[in-house]
C-alpha cells in the first residue's frame, strides 16, 4: 500500500517541487494551502505523515498540540518546515509535539530523507501494535489476519489493504478514487470499478459480519461504520 503525505503549504513553487520529489519516491501526496484545511484534511484522511509549512500555521504550537491530543491523530508524525532560524521557536514547536522542525531554506532531499526515516521508524512500531475492531470484524495488521465472527477469513493482499483503510478511517466515506490511488497507486491503469469488484469480494468473504458495517454511500464511495 502506498504511503500518504499531507502537505500544507501556500508556497506554490515549493509545494510543486516537494510533491514531485515525493511522488518520484512512490508516495501519494495531498496538498492544501491553509492550517484550517490542513487540520480538516488530517482528520478526514488520516495521512501517514503531515508536513506543515510554518507560514500557514496561525499558531504552530496549538496546531501540534491539537493533533497530539486527539487519539485518532496523535500517531500521525508532524514535520514543520520552519520559517525562522530562532532556536527558541524550534524548541517551542518540538515541545508541542512536532516530530521534526527543519530550518529554512528547505532542502528537499533532506526533507525526503527525514520523511523516510520517520515513516521507517513508525512502521517498525505500527505493525507491532495495530489491531482494529469493528462490529464482529477484527483486523490484525502485524499478523495479516482478519477474523469475522471469531472465524479466520483469508483475504488477498489488496482486499486486506482495502479493509484496513476502511477500518482505519471508520465512519469516514472514502471515495473510489482515493481508495484506488492509495492501494493501487497513481500509475495504475484500471478504473474505479476495480474497487467495486474488490469490495464485492470482501463482502462475500466476510459474510454476514460485513452486514451493514461495510456500507456503499451512493455517489460518494464506501464507509465502514459500527
Amino acid at each position: 500500500m502506498k504511503l500518504q503525505v499531507l502537505l500544507v503549504n501556500k508556497n506554490v513553487k515549493e509545494t510543486q517541487e516537494i510533491k514531485a520529489a515525493l511522488i518520484t519516491c512512490g508516495y501519494l501526496v495531498i496538498g492544501v494551502v491553509s492550517q484550517e484545511d490542513g487540520l480538516k484534511t488530517v482528520a478526514e484522511i488520516q495521512p501517514d505523515i503531515a508536513v506543515f509549512a510554518q507560514d500557514v500555521m496561525i499558531n504552530p504550537e496549538q496546531c501540534c498540540t491539537f493533533m497530539k491530543a486527539d487519539p485518532k491523530l496523535s500517531n500521525i508524525p508532524i514535520i514543520v518546515l520552519g520559517n525562522t532560524q530562532q532556536p527558541e521557536v524550534m524548541i517551542s514547536v518540538l515541545n508541542a509535539g512536532a516530530d521534526d522542525y527543519l530550518n529554512p531554506p528547505v532542502s528537499i532531499p533532506e526533507l525526503i530523507a527525514r520523511i523516510k526515516a520517520i515513516l521507517r521508524r513508525v512502521s517498525m512500531r505500527g505493525v507491532i501494535e495495530e489491531i482494529l475492531k469493528c462490529g464482529d470484524i477484527e483486523l490484525n495488521l502485524a499478523k495479516f489476519q482478519v477474523r469475522a465472527k471469531d472465524k479466520d477469513v483469508k483475504l488477498a493482499p489488496k482486499e486486506f489493504d482495502l479493509l484496513y483503510l476502511l477500518m482505519k478511517r471508520k465512519n469516514y466515506v472514502l471515495s473510489r478514487e482515493f481508495l484506488l490511488d492509495r492501494i493501487w497507486g497513481y500509475d495504475y491503469e484500471g478504473d474505479t470499478r476495480t474497487v467495486d469488484v474488490h469490495i464485492r469480494r470482501l463482502r462475500r468473504k466476510l459474510g454476514t459480519a460485513a452486514g451493514k458495517i461495510v456500507r456503499t454511500v451512493h455517489g460518494r464511495g464506501y464507509c465502514v461504520t459500527e
Binding site: I91, P109, I112, I118
Partner: protein, 131 residues
C-alpha cells in the same frame, strides 16, 4: 525526565569534551549515559551495555559513523535501535541524506543546543514506543 523507565544512551564520539558535555546534559534530564571514544569501542559497548538508543558522531577515528550505522542496522539484535547522528558544522547536505538513508533516525549538527537535543531524543523515543 518525567517517565519512570530508565533510558540508557550510548554516546560514540572521539571528542572527550563533546562526550562530557553531552553526558552532563543528558544525565541532568534523567538519562543513564555510557560513552565510547571509537567505533570499535562503540560496538563493544553496544553489546555489553545494551543501551536504549545511540548517539553517533559522523567522524570517528577508526570506523566512519555512516559505516558504523550500517553495521549496526545489519545486526538483527540492534536493527531497530534508535540512532541519532551528530556531525560537525561544515557537513555536506548529501551526508545528512546518506545518514538518514543508511538508518539514522535523527540528524543534528554541532554545536548542539541542549534543550533541542533533549527534545529530539524524547520525541524519537516516543516515536519508537520506548517512552
Amino acid at each position: 525526565m518525567a517517565e519512570n523507565k530508565v533510558v540508557k544512551i550510548l554516546i560514540v564520539d572521539d571528542d572527550p569534551n563533546m562526550r562530557d558535555t553531552l553526558t552532563d546534559v543528558l544525565e541532568l534530564d534523567g538519562f543513564v549515559v555510557k560513552s565510547a571514544a571509537s567505533g570499535k569501542e562503540g560496538l563493544e559497548k553496544l553489546k555489553a551495555e545494551n543501551p536504549t538508543m545511540l548517539i553517533l558522531d559522523l567522524q570517528l577515528p577508526d570506523i566512519a559513523g555512516l559505516e558504523l550505522c550500517q553495521i549496526i542496522r545489519k545486526d538483527p539484535e540492534f536493527a531497530a535501535i534508535p540512532i541519532l547522528m551528530l556531525t560537525g558544522r561544515f557537513i555536506q547536505a548529501d551526508d545528512k541524506v546518506s545518514g538518514l538513508d543508511l538508518g539514522a533516525d535523527e540528524y543534528l549538527v554541532k554545536p548542539v543546543n541542549p534543550p533541542e537535543l533533549v527534545l529530539r531524543i524524547k520525541n524519537l523515543l516516543r516515536r519508537c514506543g520506548v517512552v
